[in-house]
């Protein structure tokens, strides 16, 4: 054993190892990965997660939240001054919120559930077929606060709005024009065509 190969008496031949050197700091890689994740996060702006009125996962998840609902709420083209804020969906219900530059942040909440209590609400006309609309207003001025219900087979869409400013009637109309109801049948057809399976589970299929 040569001294050059044995800095530790009786130890391994450490001096001969000649391991390659890492020319970059692993922390740099970790940092770049985090940066990439952050940049990727920019791709997932709320606007891209908006449940638009077209078949696909964004709308299908709402249908899965309420398996009995024959329709699901969706967003058509957003009126000027309105923005999609966020979506919250679980195995019981689905909700999303809309911001308005005039009526305020989260000025309106739209919720899909299997049932809703329309007691005390007034029936109003609606253009959607096979749907009954009810409205309950709790304040007209200075804030326009109220609830609208769209009741249909197996489900209900509740619109809660609290319009702080602005021309209330115009904002109210814009809100209801922005939100439409998409047929569950259409969603199921799309899934069947895409994957060859049914959207709804066996035994609970509508």
């Amino acid at each position: 054993m040569t001294p050059a190969a044995s800095p530790v008496r009786g130890g391994t031949e450490l001096a001969e190892r000649g391991r390659p050197v890492h020319v970059f700091d692993p922390r740099l890689l970790a940092g770049l990965t985090l940066l990439a994740a952050a940049l990727a996060g920019g791709c997932a702006r709320p606007a891209t997660t908006m449940p638009g009125c077209e078949p696909g996962g964004r709308l299908g998840i709402l249908a899965q939240a309420v398996p009995t609902a024959s329709r699901v709420p969706c967003l058509k083209e957003m009126p000027v001054g309105w923005n999609f804020d966020a979506l919250d969906v679980d195995s019981e219900r689905a909700r999303f919120w809309l911001d308005s530059d005039r009526a305020g942040v989260r000025a309106a909440e739209v919720e899909l559930s299997s049932t809703c209590d329309v007691g005390g609400a007034t029936p109003v006309a609606v253009e959607e077929e096979a749907t009954r609309r009810y409205q309950r207003l709790t304040s007209l001025s200075p804030r326009f606060v109220g609830t609208t219900y769209d009741v249909f087979d197996g489900g209900c869409v509740t619109y809660r709005y609290d319009l702080v400013n602005g021309p209330h009637i115009v904002l109210y109309q814009e809100l209801h024009e922005a939100v439409s109801l998409f047929s569950r049948h259409g969603l199921a057809e799309d899934v069947r065509a895409d994957l060859g399976v049914d959207l709804d589970p066996k035994g609970r299929r509508r």
Binding site: R19, P20, T33, A37, A40, G57, V89
Partner: protein
């Protein structure tokens, strides 16, 4: 034999204590491209985990950009086929069991695990592990939520979903959350090695059970569970290995200061290799030495010999790493805020600068004839991360606490201060642990805080601390009387007037408190009266630092609270 150049003898009087057996004939320059003694790599499993993470990132990109394309559709169909097969195996009894096991993914369990780990890390003062774990919680939550929104995958179709769910299907957030919580506890609380390897199976079991339950209940797709498990388990492995490498930040429950580094395993081998290649010393044995007396480095007793079979000698080593550098920075920041810029409280920019400075001071003090250990220089363990300062081992010397202190020792100690004054030097950390006695003479060690051309105030403080240290083993009257032989009464009065609790090292302060005698008060009575010298120095920098720290803490706490709330921890 080529001996150490520059210092042919040591001021400590042990001219040949180490030199007779120390040669540098075996020195070897590390060729370009060769790793240092202790590289800082990701090992094979780390690279594997990183590769898997990169593959997942690629899959996400495909899912996001290529939804509806053939590869993605094939994955989705395979997922559904697996779930439909599982659905056929369902029984009422098994379903009841799986619904119970599904609770493993509950928010409450995850919260309990995470808070338990964070509190344990706080109690154990393992702040680096705590910060990394907290960062991982936030990062994994952000990545999970972001990818979930970006991909926007439906819950399984074509099968009946039996369990509750929340949000999009991909990736499986509960699996990722449980995996991260368990891996966080594993890598921050369980010591590396056999225990951790065994515990990995315990950690994997609940994650596997939860994954099976979610697949049985058709809440997630198989690919969702797989990606969730990788996010929750592989990513933390890589992060902990990169940011809290076990060699540098070992998880240990042994008694002792956490700033001390483990010198076994690869670091021990690296120390041997570095000593051989850079100083030509063959390491016979290395042991921790008086760990309780040092917080700013890891002190070591080195037994070395020349070549492979020469005569053995003892040397003293001080291992410095990033943790010590950070400790030094925090210490100086705290003092700057509490007392102002006392003197030369500037921080070091790197570990290399820190060890270079101490090596330089050893040589300067040696040149000035002060009784300090002979420096053999320092060796590089990991570039810019770890260095080992190698000095003479003062064999036969004892700490002042254990020595017989007579007039000769007192004179020797006071003469050391006198010589530092004359040479324009200050030790700045004179305390019983740093004042050794051998053959009736005082030796000074630990020059990390020493300085050249200090302020008169700092030199005065050195005198007070030496007088107090000596008085602990004698009497204030005896020390004062001997001091008058080397210092004027005005010098002593100035030194005593400059002293406050902050200027007295904590070890000396504790010894004074436990001694019972009011040594400082008695010395002040003996010396001429002089008004205290103010040590509070206000400056724009001090005010800015204080405001900056308060602001940073408030901002950090606010950000932390928001982040914890967002990730469901609050």
């Amino acid at each position: 034999m080529t001996t150490v150049q520059g210092h042919s003898s040591s001021a400590t009087g042990s001219a040949t204590a180490g030199l007779a057996v120390v040669s540098r004939t075996g020195r070897r320059r590390r060729p370009s491209g060769e790793a240092p003694p202790l590289p800082h790599p990701i090992n094979a499993s780390g690279w594997f985990s990183l590769s898997v993470a990169a593959a997942i990132a690629l899959v996400w990109l495909l899912l996001y950009l290529g939804t509806g394309t053939s590869p993605v559709r094939a994955v989705v169909r395979a997922d559904i086929a697996v779930l439909q097969w599982i659905e056929q195996q369902r029984t009422d009894a098994l379903t009841a069991v799986m619904l119970d096991l599904h609770a493993l993914g509950s928010h409450w369990l995850v919260r309990a695990l995470r808070w338990g780990t964070l509190l344990a890390l706080l109690v154990l003062r393992r702040f680096r592990h705590l910060a990394v774990f907290l960062g991982l919680i936030l990062a994994v939550a952000a990545v999970t939520a972001t990818s979930s929104l970006a991909v926007g995958r439906l819950r399984p179709v074509g099968v009946e979903i039996l369990g509750s769910w929340d949000g999009y299907s991909h990736p499986s957030a509960p699996v990722a959350a449980l995996g991260l919580s368990l891996m966080g506890a594993l890598y921050t609380l369980v010591p590396g090695g056999t225990w951790r390897n065994r515990a990995k199976w315990l950690v994997a079991a609940p994650v596997a059970v939860l994954s099976v339950a979610r697949l049985y209940l058709a809440v997630d797709h198989p690919s969702d569970v797989l990606v969730g498990a990788v996010l929750g388990m592989a990513v933390p492995v890589v992060a902990f290995r990169v940011l809290t490498p076990n060699q540098i930040f070992p998880v240990s429950y042994r008694r002792g200061r956490t700033a001390h580094l483990d010198i076994g395993g690869r670091r021990g081998e690296a120390i041997a290799l570095a000593l051989y290649q850079q100083l030509g010393l063959t390491l016979v044995d290395v042991q921790p030495f008086h760990l309780e007396g040092s917080a700013g480095s890891t002190p070591l007793l080195l037994r070395v010999c020349r070549g492979g079979d020469g005569e053995e000698a003892q040397l003293f080593g001080k291992l410095y790493a990033g943790a010590h550098l950070r400790s030094d920075r925090w210490y100086k920041l705290g003092r700057a805020i509490l007392y102002g810029r006392l003197e030369d409280e500037g921080t070091f920019s790197s570990v290399r600068r820190l060890v270079e400075y101490e090596d330089y001071l050893l040589r300067v003090m040696g040149d000035a004839g002060l009784p300090v250990p002979l420096s053999y220089g320092f060796v590089e363990i990991t570039p810019e991360r770890e260095y080992l300062l190698v000095t003479e081992f003062l064999a036969g010397a004892v700490e002042l606490d254990a020595a017989e202190v007579d007039d000769g020792v007192i004179d020797s100690g006071l003469a050391v201060v006198r010589r530092m004054w004359d040479a324009g030097l200050a030790h700045r950390d004179i305390k019983p642990a740093n004042v050794l006695v051998r053959g009736g003479k005082v030796l000074l060690i630990d020059l990390a805080f020493a300085t050249v051309r200090p302020s008169p105030w700092r030199q005065a403080v050195d005198l007070t601390n030496m007088m107090l240290t000596l008085a602990l083993r004698s009497s204030p009257e005896q020390v004062y009387e001997r001091a008058l032989l080397l210092f004027s009464p005005d010098d002593i009065a100035e030194a005593l007037a400059a002293s406050r609790s902050v200027t007295i090292p904590s070890q000396l302060r504790h010894r004074l408190a436990s001694d019972g005698r009011n040594l400082l008060g008695r010395l002040c009575q003996l010396a001429p009266q002089r008004p205290p010298i103010s040590i509070q120095r206000w400056s724009i920098r001090r005010i800015g630092l204080a405001l900056g720290v308060v602001g940073a803490v408030a901002f950090g706490l606010g950000l932390l609270a928001i982040s914890l709330h967002t990730t469901g921890m609050l």
